[in-house]
């Protein structure tokens, strides 16, 4: 009797595998390839990682040795690329407002005389602020560059005006150094920042759509023996192939990230990555099972899951931090499983640890177990409904 039951469960698994690999290949394509396809697509987009050589204008109204030194300093900075030196303020304004130049420096007319005689002088840095990535990169690089340039001139000025030597002057002008230690994303690389999270969003969609197809596409192939099986085991056998293949897809995604795009995945965090990944795949497969057994059609399910994908990503805190959200939105974000995976996953890869890993995995697992029971119950109801509405002897 026991062997007979096992054979029936194996029959269910075999039928799902048959659908996955032969009868409805889109399921395996979506389930297995979605995450890696997104990873490749977005790693290609963000491959450069940082913004460099921002088109820059310099209006040199002084045209002195000092101003040319400043222009050279801008030219030498990897973040800026001087593409024009307009002749007057009108041309400068016109170009920065209407052309593709994004940053401009205006050197005032008495720049050298003021700086050398100890009078106040000011370089104006103008930025086109529509794209915040350009603005923040330019501001960081510009501030640092002008501070260094100013310090250098300050040292010379002090040497000239006092009897201090260059070392003494340097200490007076730069009495404090500021050393920055950036944790996590050390080079502020956008590929590391974004692409993996986007692949996780696709991973989630892949599981949802494949699982939904399994529940909503057909009752063909279901046998009368299966109808009599234990409700939990029947559901488990049905969901099992999708769960395992999703873990393989997750592992493949990590391999592609590490070996194709050189993401800094430390082998020490692999266990943690798998724990949270498995918990996530488990909850998503079961949530897919719940929704698929509640909605009337696969079209409806697809509509719900597609409408969910972008908000789930944006509310996950992966880009805009959860701490920056107002309370109701923060609460909403806590309802989405991706919120528990996305940041933890990135911390594991970029920081090498995540203190939320086990906590988040536990939440995903516990809610996943609840969803498992609910989905199994709903599926059982549907199977029983199906059995009543069809003469079981007619089942294939």
């Amino acid at each position: 009797m026991h062997c007979y039951g096992l054979r029936q469960y194996w029959q269910i698994i075999k039928r799902e595998l048959l659908f996955l690999f032969k009868l409805d290949k889109r399921r395996i394509v979506i389930l297995f390839c979605a995450a890696s396809a997104y990873l490749i697509l977005f790693s290609l987009l963000y491959q450069q990682g940082t913004v460099e050589k921002i088109p820059t204008l310099v209006l040199d109204q002084n045209n002195s040795k000092l101003s040319r030194e400043f222009v050279q300093c801008v030219e030498d900075n990897e973040k800026f690329h001087i593409i024009a030196e307009p002749i007057n303020l009108e041309t400068f304004q016109d170009r920065i407002l209407h052309d593709k130049e994004l940053v401009g420096f205006i050197i005032p007319p008495n720049f050298n005389t003021d700086a050398e005689s100890g009078r106040e002088t000011q370089v104006l840095m103008v930025m086109e602020g529509s794209n915040l990535i350009i603005t923040s990169t330019s501001a960081m690089a510009g501030l640092e560059m002008i501070r260094d340039f100013s310090s250098e001139k300050g040292v010379k000025l002090l040497e000239k005006n006092t009897n201090m030597n260059s070392v003494q002057s340097e200490v007076k002008i730069n009495p404090v150094g500021f050393t920055y230690r950036i944790l996590g994303n050390k080079t502020l690389n956008y590929m590391y920042y974004l692409a993996l999270g986007l692949s996780l969003a696709a991973f989630q969609q892949g599981i949802l759509i494949a699982v939904a197809a399994s529940f909503l596409c057909e009752f063909q192939g279901i046998t009368s023996n299966e109808i009599g099986l234990n409700w939990l085991s029947r559901y488990a056998a049905k969901i099992l192939p999708y769960f395992f293949i999703s873990i393989v897809a997750y592992a493949t995604n990590l391999v592609v990230a590490k070996y194709v795009f050189s993401y800094p995945i430390n082998p020490k965090v692999l266990l943690d990555l798998f724990i949270i990944g498995i918990a996530f795949a488990f909850i998503i497969a079961n949530i897919g099972g719940v929704i698929a057994n509640l909605v009337r059609s696969e079209l409806m399910f697809t509509r719900i899951s597609l409408a969910y994908v972008v908000p789930a990503f944006i509310l996950s805190g992966y880009t805009w931090p959860l701490e920056g959200m107002i309370k109701p939105i923060y609460f909403l974000a806590q309802l989405s499983p991706l919120t528990y995976l996305a940041n933890t996953f990135r911390e594991l890869i970029l920081l090498g640890y995540s203190i939320d890993c086990f906590h988040n995995s536990l939440i995903l697992l516990v809610v996943g177990i609840l969803a498992f029971f609910l989905a199994a119950h709903l599926y059982d109801q549907r199977v029983k409904g199906f059995a009543i509405s069809h003469d079981s002897t007619k089942l294939v």
Binding site: L41, L143, P175, R181, I182, I314, I355, D356
Partner: protein, 381 residues
């Protein structure tokens, strides 16, 4: 049936308003607008939790701490008693920024010995990282100038002259169009356009293919009329809805719409025209609505991120630029933001023309495909 009758039938099948159309073309983009608008409603990241370990505990070190404490960007929440504690607090994620002031800090400054303040910034989320670095750079320059000024004063120069010597070349930053680096202004309109795409994709992809099952009902109606009637029933409400969402962004979330309103309407209409035509292709090719909706699924996130809305496409290779150029949002998201923030877009007419041209071509193709499948189904039946 006339084009008008088909148009009307699509809006009010069986005499009742089309609920799916209302939900997917009006409610869904509206919900997205509110959801994303409220998500970014704080606009900038302030009050970054910060930990300080001051081993010097001098008036100068307290000046540095006060400078950070006075800034909106940082919230000094923790005062560590050791460097390990500081690292632990950052490691646990309780603070994103750490400031370490070494022992003998003020003493070293006064004696002219090299010394430095350590800044530890958790940049795993770059929004935190960028905010913290930019703000701390500004504060640190001020600290540096003040310290330098005091030292030069001590060497005998008058205060004003000492200040000018300490920082002879100042910088003033002027950010045009989005001076407060407001994230809502930066992203919301693009996200609304993407939300509209999702709504259209989910609705329009099944508009033609559902007719294949009842193709006999259309026996006496020309393909052109069917396509036009159904297209107008999707394009006009979606354009109206997108414009409403843009107004919602303006009046609820204060997103500036600086260009004349007609420019927004025309560009939005061209975008919807292009995207609806694309969805008509999918709807005409597939005979199963599920496939028609699922195939373009892979487009949703790339459509948004390859549009140049966040990562500027001038900084990517030719392959990603080419991929981006195949997507309608590429011609809409950035010009729309430019209209909003700059009040004009230099690419306005070229993007409008491209979207319109692509839309016409795609619609003609959709018509041919629908005709082909229609004939096939008619023969089968």
């Amino acid at each position: 049936m006339t084009v008008y009758q088909i148009f009307k039938q699509e809006l009010k099948p069986l005499g009742k308003w089309n609920v799916s159309l209302f939900l997917l073309l009006f409610a869904l983009p509206g919900i997205y607008t509110l959801l994303f608008g409220f998500t970014y409603s704080k606009n900038v990241v302030n009050h970054l939790p910060t930990v300080v370990f001051d081993e010097d505990n001098s008036s100068m070190s307290r000046q540095i701490i006060a400078a950070y404490d006075d800034s909106d960007r940082f919230d000094l929440l923790f005062y560590a008693k050791s460097f390990e504690e500081l690292q632990n607090i950052i490691g646990k994620g309780d603070a994103y920024v750490g400031i370490y002031i070494p022992p003998q800090f003020s003493h070293d400054i006064k004696r002219g010995m090299p010394t430095s303040v350590g800044m530890i910034i958790n940049s795993t989320n770059m929004i935190f990282g960028n905010s913290a670095i930019t703000a701390s750079q500004e504060i640190n320059v001020n600290v540096l100038i003040k310290a330098g000024q005091q030292l030069i004063e001590a060497a005998g120069q008058p205060p004003a002259e000492a200040l000018r010597t300490a920082y002879p070349i100042q910088v003033k930053i002027r950010i045009l169009n989005n001076p407060t680096n407001n994230y809502t202004n930066f992203l919301l309109l693009g996200l609304i356009a993407n939300g509209m795409q999702i709504g259209l994709l989910l609705y329009v992809s099944s508009v033609l293919c559902k007719e294949y099952k009842r193709i006999n009902l259309w026996d006496k109606t020309a393909t052109l009329k069917i396509i036009l009637g159904k297209f107008l029933a999707c394009w006009l409400p979606a354009t109206f809805s997108l414009c409403l969402c843009e107004l919602l962004a303006k009046f609820v979330f204060a997103v500036p719409l600086r260009a004349p309103i007609w420019q927004f309407i025309i560009l939005s209409a061209a975008f919807i025209f292009n995207f609806t035509s694309l969805c008509f292709i999918f709807s005409a090719i597939f005979t199963n609505p599920i496939n028609a909706v699922q195939l373009p699924l892979g487009y949703i996130m790339p459509g948004l991120l390859y549009s140049g809305l966040t990562w500027p496409l001038d900084w990517v290779d030719s392959v990603p630029t080419f991929i981006g150029s195949l997507m309608p949002l590429y011609y809409f998201a950035v010009p729309l933001r430019a209209l909003s923030l700059q009040g004009f877009s230099i690419d306005y007419f070229s993007c409008f023309g491209k979207m319109l041209g692509a839309g016409v071509i795609l619609l003609i193709l959709a018509g041919y495909m629908f005709q082909y499948n229609r004939n096939r189904f008619r023969c089968e039946q």
